[in-house]
Symmetry: C2
Subunit: 380 residues, 2 copies
């Protein structure tokens, strides 16, 4: 039995309180400044409004101003904010974290500098910590296919805890692991984080298929566009593998849970897929995002960051110009508001005989070649 | 423009007539003895009853007794039968095939001998051919995520043509490739066939999730079991990769279209997933198969063959006893009619600290440990 402080009471941070509580641990859930109503709700009747579930009695909830009390004596600290809150969370941790506490985080995403150098979020999280404390805080991350609500209702879930320190990982895994929450560990934090960030990009692209089907009038067809989805999924899996290699992660991290496993569950639905569907219908990204009420889209954010870094990495000779064709096009669509036009012939190393046809087509004015009336789903 | 003879007028063989016809080729569709009504239908009004579509006018249909006429002068021969018809098709080809014809096949599956040696189906297909002709018939195979009906209505589809002879592959790809039917080639026929056969096994297992959810009364829950599906999908992708390695295929074949791409589309629905769902509900395999009207189940067949070979390969020291835990359990469920009890703790190289718990549990009599009342979906 131990004590775990969770910073951020969104659905994932809160869902993880369930396996912890099932293991008899005391969980202290600390809301961010955006979470006041969640904390009020948990304090008054135990209900987490996002999960629509009652949290166990051993979970106590704290408003942000009481965070110091919540962190006091905690062995484990879970950073439960998403990628947009990582810098904020790091700043909070400078005053809250004490050396010796085990830190684990859930945010998925990357940051890039002007030269296209990509950084994983655990690095960003601990950046505000004083330099003398930072080496004493080996930050770990939870990676893998886990829809928060399913964790909360104890559906079988398999995840990877990734971090630089095996001793810390073993202790964290022991604290979280239950009969339904299955935990493996890896010291390839870099590779696992790359997959975690990129899978959101490719899951978004899987959403194109339904939208394209609707655009060509096939919304009610018996035949869907699963072949289309599967091809994008497969190309995405190759691009994740390649990026792990480029940035120096371990190849085996791109197998299994962190990459295809997580991409599979993310492709099954959710926000990224919904925006992908609108893009498939022919909507521009800004319009699609507005239609969805400017919701948080970690996939679109990751496309802007990682996709935006690709031309710089190409210019520097780190990757080839023909690599990452799907992510490059995702950046064109989401970062540059260009129309969707899936570059099939550039996938899987390039389809023989098709490059020339594509080059010829590219000379047609953009207005004439967008989104097409071809029965072949229009995307090529 | 060329002539293509298709042996077997099931939905996939017939769907492939569409890209061929779109490329201006003459397609001669030959029904098996089981296809008489299909051929009658195509001959009388052009409608393929399985696809529920009218085939192009350049597709002509032949009853089996007219096969010689259909094969006469054909440059390309497509074996359109499924895995259960491969031996039969090979025997037909002994009298029909002429040296120089390019042979390509679609069946997915494997065969095993008494020692557990696994063979791919293209080898089985050409086995009946006279020994002096066999080397002149480099048989290729179509691999990758392609639902037949989607190919027939020209949805974007990405496939791999695999075979030993690059010149043959290039010619075949050229004949089939259209703006919506995208074709890559590989000379790793072995690796591609292994993935094609095994992906059906793992897609079947993905179907467990919905069934288990129904069994625990969660059929109408807002929270599904996507984490469960994704974990099985991920474990399956690792087992495909490993089998490619064990049998001497190329590692990169286990990336992309042939493995995760095809497994993705197969997991999206179909017969294998349906039987998996019934098994998840707690039904035994025989009962589930009867419930489905004894339909053709390539996934179940592949589980019996490949899963049945695993103990023999283990005994011979070719694979470790802890390898292929998912496929071994699939064999227990489908080959040996044992109850479903997902061995999570053996996945991904083994979950630390859980093996002992599992061993202890295994000492409980089978009747007491089946299918559980645990809220954690019961499978562990």
């Amino acid at each position: 039995m131990t004590t775990v402080a969770v910073l951020g009471s969104g659905i994932m941070g809160s869902a993880l309180a369930i396996p912890l509580a099932d293991n008899g641990h005391e969980v202290r859930l600390v809301g961010t400044h955006l979470d006041r109503q969640i904390i009020d709700s948990v304090r008054s009747g135990g209900i987490h409004p996002g999960l629509e579930l009652e949290l166990p009695a051993s979970v106590s909830a704290y408003q942000l101003e009481d965070a110091a009390e919540a962190f006091d004596g905690a062995e484990i600290v879970l950073s439960g904010v998403n990628s947009f809150g990582v810098r904020w969370a790091g700043e909070q941790l400078t005053s809250l974290l004490t050396p010796g506490q085990l830190l684990i985080a859930i945010a998925k995403g990357m940051e890039a500098d002007d030269e296209g150098n990509l950084r994983i979020l655990p690095e960003v999280l601990v950046e505000p910590l004083p330099e003398e404390i930072r080496p004493q805080v080996p930050v770990s991350a939870i990676i893998g296919p886990s829809i928060a609500g399913e964790v909360a209702v104890r559906r079988d879930t398999c995840v990877v805890f990734a971090g630089p320190d095996q001793v810390a990982l073993d202790r964290l895994a022991e604290a979280f692991r239950t009969d339904s929450y299955h935990v493996w560990t890896t010291t390839d934090l870099l590779g696992a984080e790359i997959c975690a960030a990129m899978k959101n990009c490719y899951a978004l692209s899987v959403g194109f298929a339904e939208g394209v089907l609707e655009r060509i009038g096939g919304a009610d067809d018996a035949y869907r566009a699963h072949n289309f989805e599967a091809a994008l999924f497969a190309q995405g899996s190759l691009e994740m593998r390649r990026m792990v290699q480029v940035l120096g992660g371990r190849p085996e991290t791109a197998d299994g849970l962190a990459a295809v496993g997580d991409c599979y569950v993310t492709s099954a639905g959710g926000r990224n897929v919904r925006v992908g569907r609108l893009l498939g219908q022919g909507m521009g990204f800004s319009e699609a995002w507005e239609r969805l009420g400017h919701i948080t889209l970690e996939g679109a954010a990751a496309i802007r960051v990682i996709g935006g870094a690709l031309p710089k990495l190409t210019e520097r000779g780190i990757i080839g110009a023909d690599e990452f064709p799907l992510l490059r096009h995702l950046y064109e669509v989401i970062g540059l508001e260009q129309p969707l036009d899936v570059p099939w012939e550039r996938f899987f190393g390039g389809e023989p005989d098709r490059r020339q046809a594509r080059a010829a087509r590219a000379t047609v004015p953009a207005g004439d070649r967008t989104l097409t009336a071809d029965p072949a789903m229009g995307a090529d």
